[in-house]
């Protein structure tokens, strides 16, 4: 009896040790992320509270409130992010719905149309839009030859160009989670609704649409978060007229070598991102948000 209890206790410690040892397998990854990401970002946090004289100060944050230009940057960032997310929902939802209604074989071909741009380099896609939208670009040439407008219109190096590029880049992040949410909905629900006398429209809005909301929510938040920190596309397609938070951070360092200002902006951006993520985590699990393909 005594011996058996001892044995059990021994086995339990063994088990705990074994689990710790297994957990240790993830230590190289944890170590790397700590050294390259967590500690440096922590340092940025510290630097953001150091003033020009090397003492603790809130001047980097006060500047953000007192200077109008910073207010404008945050407004621009939120406007662009909201607009991009909204457009992605408007464009992506119907396509995801279409794909979910097709037989799997056709849907998989459509999926390639979504995944091809998804896998292609962001820089290449941004460049492609720059070429297409420029003054003598394809869109202007065709628009004029079709008589839609007479003179080349400015559709790049401004907000329009930025939005076009960003929506194109963000669409897959919305379509993939929405599509998988739709695929998971059993046909029987719609049949049941129809049997009970619902018109297709009623059935869609009262049965189908609510069931896709978690996926739509996950996708939209992912798009929104990515937009908040976006750099490459607005930098290239915005032509200096659209200044988002991340672009200001880069120019604070590249042009003014002002680490305090850059760090403070970075901290605010990170906090905003975490707030959105925190809200998101209350409704959907993070794995669902991040598992959308790539």
């Amino acid at each position: 009896m005594q011996a058996q209890r001892l044995n059990e206790a021994g086995l339990r410690t063994d088990d705990r040790l074994e689990r710790l040892r297994l957990f240790g397998l993830s230590s190289p990854a944890i170590l790397l992320i700590m050294i390259i990401l967590v500690i440096p970002v922590g340092w940025l946090f510290y630097v953001s509270f150091v003033g020009a004289n090397g003492q603790f100060s809130l001047e980097n944050y006060e500047r953000m409130i007192s200077r109008k230009s910073y207010g404008r940057i945050f407004t621009t960032t939120f406007q662009i992010s909201f607009l991009t997310t909204g457009l992605c929902i408007l464009i992506g939802y119907p396509l995801a719905y279409f794909m979910s209604q097709m037989p799997t074989r056709i849907a998989n071909i459509c999926l390639i149309a979504v995944l091809l741009p998804f896998w292609t380099s962001l820089l290449v896609r941004t460049y492609a839009w720059l070429v297409l939208l420029q003054r003598r670009g394809l869109v202007n040439e065709w628009g004029m030859s079709l008589g839609l407008w007479d003179e080349p219109i400015a559709i790049v190096h401004n907000v329009t160009g930025t939005l076009i590029g960003m929506v194109h880049i963000m669409l897959p992040f919305l379509i993939l989670p929405v599509y998988s949410a739709m695929r998971a909905i059993s046909d029987d629900y719609m049949k049941a609704a129809s049997n009970l006398g619902a018109t297709p429209r009623t059935a869609f809005w009262t049965v189908f649409f609510p069931l896709t909301l978690p996926g739509l929510f996950a996708g939209s938040l992912m798009v929104f978060i990515l937009c908040l920190g976006f750099f490459v596309t607005p930098a290239v397609l915005g032509g200096g007229k659209v200044i988002m938070v991340s672009m200001q951070i880069v120019s604070n360092i590249e042009l003014f070598v002002n680490w305090g200002a850059a760090s403070a902006l970075g901290v605010v951006l990170l906090v905003l991102t975490m707030i959105v993520l925190w809200i998101a985590s209350r409704f959907v699990n993070l794995e669902q948000m991040t598992g959308g393909g790539r």
């Binding site: 689990r19 710790l20 297994l22 957990f23 397998l25 993830s26 990854a29 944890i30 790397l32 992320i33 390259i36 990401l37 440096p40 340092w43 940025l44 119907p94 396509l95 279409f98 794909m99 209604q101 459509c110 149309a113 091809l116 741009p117 896998w119 292609t120 380099s121 820089l123 290449v124 460049y127 492609a128 839009w129 720059l130 297409l132 394809l138 989670p177 719609m190 609704a193 129809s194 297709p200 978060i225 920190g229 750099f231 490459v232 991340s246 951070i249 880069v250 850059a262 760090s263 970075g266 951006l269 990170l270 991102t273 993520l277 993070l286 669902q288 991040t290 598992g291 393909g293 790539r294």
Partner: protein, 276 residues
């Protein structure tokens, strides 16, 4: 045709005709998704500075200017080297981490998983300036080692998510059976588990490669000197003026991506992709 339009699209009452608008806009959206990327390919063969489409005069002058430039060639070599090394580091480190998190059911697992996916969530600009600062201290700024480490951190979340999803669908009792028969844990993993999650591992490796190969913002800060990456040079060229050489490089990058996609299709079967 008319009959098809009137025929029911689903078991509920709606017909294909009533849904025609959905079909039309969906096709338009798909065309808009795909063409902007693909149209760069024929344009890169245009002789004109303005990259006409369709090209009036075909030429390979932008390819010549790319292959003839030692700067571009150097950057291309760096990018391939860094991407390949990132793949070699991120895949084993990430697979081990995913396996560790999956097999040890201790309390910190949830927190550790959140830590693993932070590189995906933190705005990439912060990662870039943070790494820039750290590398000055560690004296690995502008080195291949530094780039590989930073890109590995960016690729890790993908490896952990993709491999973790595959492990969830895998029955761990098979490994226990092997261990019960006397195999040590590492041997059980290598001979029983790994072959069954190999598709996810291959997908992870290809994603790691592409993550590094396509990365711009971090490379902007920590690559340079003798080791600028291809994307860094492309981005700088884009900020100055539209250099048509970029069209040629873009075409080659699309080619690399396509090769990766085909490889993933061949070796990373559809089933093993993260389902969600």
């Amino acid at each position: 045709m008319l009959n098809w339009l009137r025929s029911p699209a689903t078991d509920t009452q709606i017909s294909h005709g009533q849904r025609l608008w959905l079909y039309v806009i969906s096709v338009i959206i798909m065309v808009l998704l795909v063409t902007p990327t693909l149209i760069v390919i024929p344009m890169s063969f245009s002789d004109s500075q303005y990259l006409e489409f369709p090209p009036e005069v075909w030429s390979t002058r932008w390819y010549q200017s790319y292959f003839g430039s030692s700067e571009w060639m150097q950057a291309t070599r760096t990018s391939f080297k860094v991407a390949f090394l990132t793949m070699l580091v991120a895949t084993p480190v990430g697979v081990l981490a995913a396996y560790g998190l999956h097999a040890s059911r201790i309390r910190f697992v949830r927190a550790a998983f959140v830590l693993m996916i932070t590189p995906m969530m933190v705005p990439v600009v912060l990662v870039a300036i943070g790494a820039f600062y750290a590398y000055v201290q560690l004296q690995i700024l502008y080195t291949v080692t530094g780039l590989v480490l930073a890109h590995t951190v960016l690729a890790l979340p993908l490896v952990v998510i993709v491999t973790g999803a595959a492990l969830k669908g895998y029955d761990m009792s098979q490994e226990e059976a092997a261990r019960g028969l006397g195999a040590p844990r590492w041997k059980a993993f290598l001979t029983i588990t790994l072959p069954q999650i190999r598709f996810a591992v291959v997908t992870s490796a290809l994603l790691s490669f592409l993550t590094s190969f396509d990365e711009v913002v971090v490379a902007m800060f920590i690559s340079g000197g003798d080791n600028p990456t291809l994307t860094r040079n492309m981005f700088n060229a884009l900020r100055d003026q539209i250099d048509p050489t970029i069209a040629a490089i873009s075409t080659l990058m699309i080619f690399v991506t396509t090769v990766m996609m085909v490889l993933a299709g061949l070796f990373g079967s559809q089933k093993q992709k993260p389902k969600q």
